[in-house]
């Protein structure tokens, strides 16, 4: 069963008097254990699509299913709960909080769940991404690659079903990018999760199981 499914998803924006169609009837799915990469020129609707897969945005028309459940009409707070329990995010700019240690950054998504302590899992994840000696470092003390690995650990702390990566290698050099992609490939299998990435990076495309190309809001098949 697919983790995340978009059925005939349409997204329209009202800009001034004009209606812009960012996504035109897109069908998309991602399964456990696969890495799907969305490519396309800028303005093709990649970010809109990723936001919709990540339940950060809702379609104007069409359905969104997460683990078989229709979440299209969920309220803002219900969608937040879904993201917290089932989705992990990795951003191009890492988006770590500078005043928190690496471990605290990893714990962040679950920080408000005071009854479950994710400290052990956070430490274990940091070990797994090779940062066992950086647990109490703060982001400004870490290199770009290290920061992105903290971000990956953060995306996994809630044991998600799908991990979304927006240009995960965009700010990294070739070698560091390759390490990060190796990491993601390993985690995809060990955690049995779906990874959906958006990129311009050729290197990332090589690591993908499947490529989805967006052109003008439609999937090019």
């Amino acid at each position: 069963m697919s983790v995340i499914v978009l059925e005939d998803a349409i997204k329209r924006y009202q800009t001034g008097g004009e209606v812009i169609e960012a996504l035109a009837s897109v069908n998309f799915r991602a399964d456990r254990g696969e890495m799907v990469t969305i490519i396309g020129p800028s303005g093709s609707g990649k970010s809109t699509l990723l936001n919709m897969i990540g339940l950060l945005d809702t379609p104007t028309a069409g359905r969104v299913r997460l683990n078989g459940r229709d979440v299209t009409d969920f309220s803002t707070d219900e969608l937040t709960e879904e993201r917290r329990s089932d989705i992990g995010f990795v951003f191009q700019d890492y988006h770590l909080l500078p005043m928190l240690t690496a471990t605290e950054n990893v714990e962040l998504p679950t920080m408000w769940d005071t009854e479950v302590d994710r400290r052990d899992r956070a430490v274990e994840l940091l070990n797994r991404v090779g940062l066992s000696d950086r647990l109490t470092h703060k982001p400004p003390q870490l290199s770009g690659g290290q920061r992105q690995r903290v971000a990956i650990a953060r995306a996994l702390v809630n044991e998600p079903d799908v991990l979304l990566a927006d240009e995960p290698t965009g700010n990294l050099d070739q070698d560091t990018g390759a390490t990060i992609l190796d990491e993601l490939t390993r985690l995809k299998e060990s955690e049995n999760i779906a990874i959906v990435a958006v990129t311009h990076d050729e290197q990332l495309v090589e690591y993908s199981d499947r490529i989805v190309e967006l052109v003008d809001g439609s999937i090019n098949t």
């Binding site: 937040t80 917290r84 995010f89």
Partner: protein, 381 residues
């Protein structure tokens, strides 16, 4: 294994604390604003409490006094001996002190001169406190002089003064504080010094504890005066006390109002600081929302930051105000520890409550704004 932060069980508090630590200067300035507001409220409040205590202490000496003098319809030029007898009968246990008064010029050996009020009475000990010397309880001879005049004329105990051609030796120097209505400059002589006067200029009735000054005033007044004839004039200081009390109440409200304005200014500063810091952290808050932190949790986090500013500023303000209060009470009342009586210490509490309330209210809008930002938009830039 890394050590767990003590605030870990309170994630909003932990995050708020860390966020405040990021821009220490801004945090310090916002805190300073609150501190000043609290100090303004608390120290102005404590100042009025000190003034109130001082005024109450001064008026206490007068609160048992009823003063009787001749009214406009009195056939005589004062209170007659028979009238004094009547007053004594009405007064019951109260001490009745008739006195005659005049004005004279005292001159010292060095040629210095000063005009003073002269009052002649018996029972001087019930009316005056002395700082030096003594008052004989019959007070048939000798004289008492106010401190200011004694100093000016260089008069010491045992020195003679002349009134109406007769010599009196100074027995005692009056203490400088005789209450608000006390005679500041007066020469007190035995009643015999003015035996040429037939009438008394005034009669002071000193009520015993438990005796109602108001009732005494009314009794005396009704037994002499009729609806259209004011034979005597009867005054007590209860109404003065009331007036002073209500004046101080107004003063306190006015001062607290001024103090509150500074706290309002401080809370606008907090509003500004919180708005700035949430705008700066827009992307970060977007990330929080994206990774599953709810709107309520973001709201609580930012509100907690504002409350922390209020609490820190409030606590520091209370500490500073307590210090100011001690100094105020030392100077105005003379007993610094009175600053910690409820009458004045309550203003520390008000200052604290105001600080926390004002900062929470100021934090509300920025917190609400940040929490309701759509993560998609916050993450875009």
């Amino acid at each position: 294994m890394s050590r767990r932060h003590p605030l870990r069980r309170f994630p909003s508090a932990l995050m708020a604390w860390r966020n405040l630590g990021r821009n220490r200067v801004r945090t310090a300035l916002a805190t300073l604003g609150i501190l000043i507001g609290v100090v303004a409220i608390a120290s102005l409040g404590m100042a009025t409490a000190a003034i109130q205590q001082q005024a109450t202490a001064n008026l206490e000496g007068l609160s048992n006094e009823v003063t009787v003098s001749a009214g406009p319809d009195n056939p005589n030029d004062g209170i007659s001996a028979e009238q004094v007898d009547d007053i004594e009968r009405l007064a019951g246990d109260a001490t009745v002190v008739p006195e005659r008064s005049n004005v004279t010029t005292l001159s010292a050996r060095n040629g210095a001169e000063t005009r003073v009020r002269v009052t002649a009475l018996t029972k001087a000990d019930t009316m005056y406190n002395i700082s030096r010397g003594r008052i004989s309880n019959r007070f048939r001879s000798g004289a008492l002089l106010s401190q200011a005049d004694a100093r000016r004329l260089g008069i010491e105990i045992g020195d003679p003064v002349t009134y109406d051609g007769k010599l009196y030796r100074i027995q005692g120097i009056l203490s400088s504080s005789q209450g608000l209505g006390g005679q500041r400059r007066v020469l007190v002589l035995p009643l015999s010094a003015m035996s040429d006067q037939n009438y008394y200029d005034s009669v002071t009735v000193l009520a015993e504890p438990g005796q109602s000054v108001e009732a005494l005033t009314a009794d005396i007044e009704s037994s002499f005066n009729t609806a259209d004839e004011d034979i005597i004039r009867v005054r007590n200081f209860a109404s003065v006390q009331q007036n002073v009390g209500s004046f101080l109440g107004t003063l306190r409200l006015g001062l607290l109002g001024i103090g509150s304005i500074s706290l309002v200014v401080a809370s606008v500063a907090i509003l500004n600081v919180m708005l700035m810091s949430t705008v700066e952290r827009r992307g970060e808050i977007g990330v929080l929302r994206a990774v599953g932190i709810t709107r309520g949790e973001v709201l609580r986090m930012i509100l907690t930051e504002a409350v922390f500013l209020g609490v820190i500023g409030g606590v520091l303000g209370v500490v500073v105000s307590a210090g100011i209060g001690v100094v105020l009470f030392e100077f105005l009342v003379g007993s610094p520890l009175n600053a910690f009586r409820w009458q004045s210490v309550q203003y520390l509490l008000y200052g604290m409550v105001f600080a926390v309330a004002a900062s929470s209210i100021s934090g509300l809008y920025p917190a609400w704004k940040a929490a309701n930002e759509r993560p998609v938009e916050a993450l875009r830039d």
